[in-house]
């Protein structure tokens, strides 16, 4: 319990762990689809504490990690143009493209800026009419309402020097892809509470039914995750397969309807490649044709760029649970958070980075105990 001992809800967590172990009559395999949850699980050692009762497979739940290489390369090509100010959320700057990353483009003189909100990028466009402002619109359902509104407002305000490079992904098609994979081992899902806060969970209901799997909408704190696991284990033990909400405190079945409406006005579903996984049908959002004037791929002629993923990175195997990160040949050697080879090593929410950091904590702790 050495990791949990630092957590102030440690007693509740311990009780939940004991319950899960008592109720699981066999080991169950669950997947969390939220990078924040991956971070908590690995950092708190929850998977080790539940050994024999629950195995957690870390799903493709980090938008930084699943943004396909070719979208990064398109970003790099656009950001290198002298007429462009390229804006992005901070965690995309170090995602490796084929040759370099956005940070290196900046070092070479490209104007690359971190924004907190896509509306910051739009405001920059209004203040800088002699430049093209491009925003890297990435993320799951949590960022889609913001990105949709920025495009909507740009049209409303008649801002013409603003465009978005869209690489949006949605969670339910990823669940389908994982369940349809021939060697799938996942028996239940923890869905991300904050994604459902936007979209609600009606889209999960047919999936739970079709694949006969429990899907538990879960928060990202240790106690949330343990509760989510317990609810999933209970369903599995009693042969149920329902969508259940552990994260009641801020999620409603229909999400945030105003946000969904704007997303649907600006974006439509389209096929999307996931880094390390490949193309998942209808798993992404793209701009509707009425908004094509705001499509950076068209504006800068990069729509047809296609590249292959580096063979050494085994992100696809990690994201589908076939491989734990430390088993990747490059892990911790040719691939580290300082020099990531694959996207899973970039953000704290990537499974490889989560394992790498906890490896460090553990070494430090052992060293501390020994001295």
């Amino acid at each position: 319990m050495k990791f949990l001992s630092e957590y102030r809800d440690a007693d509740i967590a311990k009780a939940l762990i004991a319950r899960i172990k008592a109720e699981a009559t066999r080991p169950w395999t669950l997947m969390e689809v939220c990078g924040g949850q991956t971070h908590t699980i690995v950092r708190q050692g929850l998977d080790e504490l539940l050994d024999g009762a629950v195995e957690m497979i870390h799903g493709p739940g980090c938008p930084v990690c699943v943004t396909p290489l070719e979208q990064i390369d398109k970003a790099l090509a656009i950001a290198a143009r002298p007429d462009v100010i390229f804006t992005s959320f901070g965690d995309m700057l170090r995602v490796p493209g084929s040759d370099c990353d956005l940070q290196q483009i900046r070092a070479r003189g490209g104007d690359v800026r971190i924004v907190y909100s896509p509306l910051d990028a739009l405001a920059l466009a209004q203040r800088t009419p002699d430049k093209e402002i491009v925003f890297f619109a990435v993320g799951f359902e949590t960022t889609a309402p913001a990105n949709a509104m920025a495009v909507w407002r740009a049209r409303e305000l008649g801002v013409r020097n603003f465009s978005v490079l869209v690489s949006h992904v949605t969670v339910p098609p990823a669940i389908t892809a994982i369940m349809e994979a021939p060697d799938n081992r996942v028996q239940g899902f923890l869905a991300a509470g904050h994604v459902c806060a936007v979209m609600g969970w009606t889209e999960y209901e047919p999936l739970a039914e079709k694949y006969r799997i429990p899907i538990v909408v879960t928060g990202f704190e240790p106690v949330d995750i343990l509760e989510g696991m317990l609810l999933a284990v209970r369903q599995l033990e009693s042969g149920r397969h329902e969508v259940e909400n552990q994260y009641v405190r801020s999620v409603r079945r229909d999400g945030t309807p105003a946000a969904r409406t704007t997303v649907e006005k600006v974006f439509e579903l389209g096929d999307r490649k996931w880094r390390g996984i490949g193309e998942i049908p209808m798993s992404g959002l793209r701009l509707r044709s009425e908004f094509s004037a705001y499509d950076a791929e068209r504006k800068f002629g990069v729509a047809d760029l296609a590249v292959d993923e580096p063979a050494e990175c085994r992100a696809g195997d990690v994201l589908t649970g076939r491989l734990k990160p430390p088993k990747c040949g490059a892990f911790g050697t040719r691939c580290t958070p300082e020099h990531p080879l694959g996207a899973l090593m970039v953000s704290a929410e990537g499974a490889c980075a989560a394992y790498y950091h906890i490896g460090k904590y553990r070494t430090q702790e052992t060293a501390g105990a020994a001295s």
């Binding site: 971190i114 904050h194 936007v198 704190e221 704290a348």
Partner: protein, 96 residues
């Protein structure tokens, strides 16, 4: 960018038809879009903000708890962006 940050709505305003407001995130303040929650939210309420957009209203106890946990997890990268952006090149008339 996935985990929303809880904050308190301390100012409300209308920007050409778009509901905006200032949200205080444990001392760091910035402007956020309130369009998606405007029917629910009044001055002094707590909201969860994703990349500058309030998505859900929460109560104060929940907001405080989530904020503390995010801090404990060291997962406040977005707060760093907020601070960075506030003082960085995006500030009006800032350097390029």
């Amino acid at each position: 960018m996935c985990l929303g940050i809880p904050g308190k709505v301390v100012e409300l305003r209308d920007d050409n038809g778009l509901a905006m407001g200032v949200v205080d995130f444990g001392g760091v303040r910035r402007e956020c879009c309130l369009a998606y929650v405007q029917d629910d939210v009044a001055l002094g309420d707590y909201v969860i903000v994703h990349v500058g957009f309030a998505i859900t209203k929460v109560d104060e106890a929940e907001a405080r708890r989530t904020f503390e946990v995010l801090k404990e997890m060291g997962d406040t990268a977005e707060l760093d962006w907020i601070t960075q952006v506030a003082t960085d090149s995006l500030a009006m008339g800032g350097d390029a």
